[in-house]
Amino acid sequence: MGKRLLTCSVMALLMGTGGLAAQETLTIGVADALTGGAAVYGLPQANSVEMAAGEINAAGGISVGDQTYMLDVIVYDDKANPTEATNAVRKLIDRDGVKYLLGFCCSGATGAVASFIGYEDAVMLVGNAAERSITTQGLTNLVRTRPPADYTGAAAGAFVARQGHKRVAVLGALETSFYASYVEAFEEEFAQAGGEVIAHEVFASKDRDMSPQLTKIRAMSPDALLVVGYVEPAAFAYRQATELGMDIPRYGFTSGSEEQFLRVATSEQMEGVWDLRPTELTLQSATEAGLAYHANYTERFGDAPSPSSPYAYDQAWALKHAIEAAGTVDDTEAVAEALRDLQVFPEAVMQYLPVDGKMFDANGQAYTANGAFQWQDGHWVFVEELPSDPAAYSEFLSSLD
């Protein structure tokens, strides 16, 4: 069921337009996981778009010539399910007449929409979904704010090798392709540094008992454990590793907030865990825009934002700047082109690394730095930036079909 949110404010009506410019409403759509296991990523993304739209409206809306557009957001729950996502986007395009689609936290659902979006008079802005192939299909009307999983996995592999580990066991949602691609890139870098991945144990997104896999891993005496997956199963894996007395360094790729982890594991059970991920929102690493985002989100929704949620917030601002640069809301091709030419804007919360001076590369892909975060005394602490080369990766991405 959709949630219609009219975010135009009286203040916005009164200010900025000088009483001369005509004012209209531009409806944008969000398809994201609002319920189910992936809601830990999808709901904060939907909230972020809603918040960004409110801020854009309060700042005077989107100016196109003499027209001013106030944003109106329609949100549908795609449950991170490909069929639901397809239905949600079809409803947005066919019934609601939406041309601009935001959100998209999860790769399976996003991949399904990407498979037909190239034929639509619409622009798709992808958030947290990290499957590489989303930006390798040559879709000119699609951009993504989050870097692909393997871009981060390679940096993580080099980092873990630098810690002196030689034998690492992997436990994760390896049947999900973007987690598998993270591990593949991790393994490649780790092997180049002389390391070996000695186990690939799998859990499903609904699994909550990882003790059989961890028992098997424990018997192999690895130097370290790498956990890749959604926040909740990953948190159970960390918790159950301590319950099995596994006193080895634990690394992960989850992008979960402190609150999300603490719903499952205690701070003591999480102590020392590393999260090797894009340098997303963590207070220690945040810019002024990031700190303001964190404060506003917390005030508005009563919960701290998840680290990956600004990917969607930045989508809304990117869209505003692209529409203004294109000078049209109707010509989606022009807006898509303007997105490709966009420079990183001051409202961006994530710290993007431009390629050729632009926020999105020729594939429509944006890049952030990668970072190593560690759980210390109940908080994710930014420890160091991981080496990231967006230009080289962009070239590699362009070389793929």
Partner: protein, 285 residues
């Protein structure tokens, strides 16, 4: 060898939960002939209620569990009185449909009252015991002990008390039980109260060991029925053996083959057992 023993310990903890679910199902099925599909959802209700009392109301965990157990018993009595009793003399298909409807109603009520978010019941049991190279987390130890106590208590109740004898008499022959002066109107109420309390206990265990979320109860009741069939329909010892066998099989399958196939392997074992013993492990031929 240590790894196998560790996997068996892992399996016994989850097997204990399956036993409690299956016991609740087996006494209802054995005595009233009802496939009580809503048992999993009711079990989740108990877990949600305990979470609510601990996290929202700040009650100590033990007190919250006690309140949830009593509430569960009352709920069980209401379910019997309002949903199943009016259909006692009707065709079995009616009770089957009511059971399905009840599942949706309880699941919907859980969603309405407690929301769609996954919850984990907080406990302070985070110690780890090391016994000869085998590790036993404190929480799993409590789950195993809790399940053992409840199984023993139920066995004693059914075998040693007058009400227990009356329950067995109704299960054996309802008409003869009436002739013996047993209040057969009361027995179903007692059975549902016990069954739901066992389900609530299982819900608390799942909620503290793992997590509760919409849909978890449905998975649990499927496992409960699998245990029921594996152990033998209506057999209390069968439910105990079947639950432990299923839990340990799942753990060994996940540990030595693949977690992706643990349910498949557990059900293959179940089918294999039924081919050799169609009446189940402890059922009567």
């Amino acid at each position: 060898m240590t790894e196998i023993l560790q996997q068996i310990i892992n399996g016994i903890a989850i097997g204990g939960v399956y036993v409690l679910i299956a016991l609740g199902l087996t006494i209802v099925f054995g005595i009233l002939g009802i496939a009580h599909f809503a048992h999993g959802s009711v079990s989740m209700f108990g877990g949600y209620l305990t979470f609510f009392l601990v996290v929202q109301q700040g009650l100590p965990l033990v007190l919250a569990i006690a309140i949830a157990l009593v509430t569960g018993m009352v709920l069980g009595v209401l379910i019997e009185l309002l949903a199943y009793r009016p259909l006692r003399n009707a065709n079995h298909i009616n009770a089957f449909i009511v059971a399905l409807g009840l599942t949706m109603m309880v699941e919907g009520a859980n969603l309405q009252f407690f929301g769609a978010e996954q919850i984990v019941i907080p406990t302070n049991a985070s110690r780890v015991f090391d016994i000869g190279g085998l590790t036993l987390p404190e929480l799993r130890l409590y789950v195993i002990l809790g399940a053992a106590v409840l199984i023993a208590a139920m066995t004693i109740f059914v075998e040693e008390t007058k009400t227990g004898q009356a329950i067995r008499a109704v299960a054996e022959n309802r008409d003869a039980a009436i002739l013996m002066g047993i209040n057969v109107q009361m027995i179903p109420l007692v059975v549902f109260a016990i069954s739901t309390a066992l389900g609530v206990a299982a819900g608390v265990m799942v909620g503290s060991l793992f997590a509760i979320a919409p849909g978890v109860g449905e998975g649990l009741v499927v496992k409960g029925f699998a245990v029921l069939i594996l152990g033998g329909l209506g057999s209390i010892p069968g439910a105990v053996v079947g639950g432990i066998v299923l839990g340990v099989t799942e753990a060994l399958a996940a540990g030595f083959i693949s977690s992706a196939y643990k349910d498949v392997i557990a059900f293959i074992v179940m089918i294999a057992v039924l081919l050799l013993r169609p009446q189940g492990l402890m059922g009567r031929a």
